[in-house]
Amino acid sequence: MITEKDFFELTTEPIDVGEVARRFVPNDCGATVALDGYVRQFTKGRETLYLEYESYEPMALKEMEKLIAEAHKQFEISLVGIVHRLGRLEIGETSVVISVAAPHRRAAFEGCEWLIRELKRTVPIWKKEIYAGGETWVEGEKNLTADEHR
């Protein structure tokens, strides 16, 4: 089960990592770990011009909710916030923030790292990279079988 204050959102507006991390500060917590993922300019020497993200939105929201529920089971955490951006993103712009608050920081680090790994594996969002002279849909890893998710 997710809690009343957990949140998960898709947006086409710029994401403010501080706003996501500080939206709720549970009074039994002392630490929030936030992952700020953004558009890298250079990957192995190749320059990215910008990215385009698209999503199967209702399913993405359901999958995010499932991830948060599972994170509450696996880690001693109080609150999770996930905000993912869609549409065109320029270099350096935030594509995703995952924020995890916990009474003890260890669980916040573990939960946050688990959530970004699973998000990249299961939440139906795709990015197209546009570089000088071409564009390509970035290939995710298909380390997911349909069976895992029934």
């Binding site: 399913m59 993405a60 995703v96 139906p124 969002i125 197209k128 349909a146 029934r150």
Partner: protein, 82 residues
């Protein structure tokens, strides 16, 4: 019966479609339904062979789950968000 089939990202570009109505026989299961869709869009399996994922009503699906009239099916490649 008729289902809706959605494509996203690379599968939308490959098929030239984002959402179509698709005819299926009664009582097909998810595996049979997706096999029928791939048969109609041979480019999908050619281009994305092992990276295709399937969903029924916004849940990852496959196997012998029975498809119903009006279900929302989706065919997409391995996700790459984050």
């Amino acid at each position: 019966m008729i289902v809706e089939v959605l494509f996203f990202g690379a599968t939308a570009e490959a098929t030239g479609e984002r959402a179509i109505e698709f005819s299926l026989s009664e009582n097909v299961n998810a595996d049979e339904a997706f096999a029928a869709i791939l048969k109609s869009f041979p480019g999908l399996q050619q281009n994305f062979k092992n990276s295709l994922l399937f969903a029924v009503n916004q849940e990852y699906s496959g196997g012998d789950k029975i498809i119903k009239n009006g279900d929302e099916l989706a065919v997409f490649t391995a996700v790459s968000g984050g």
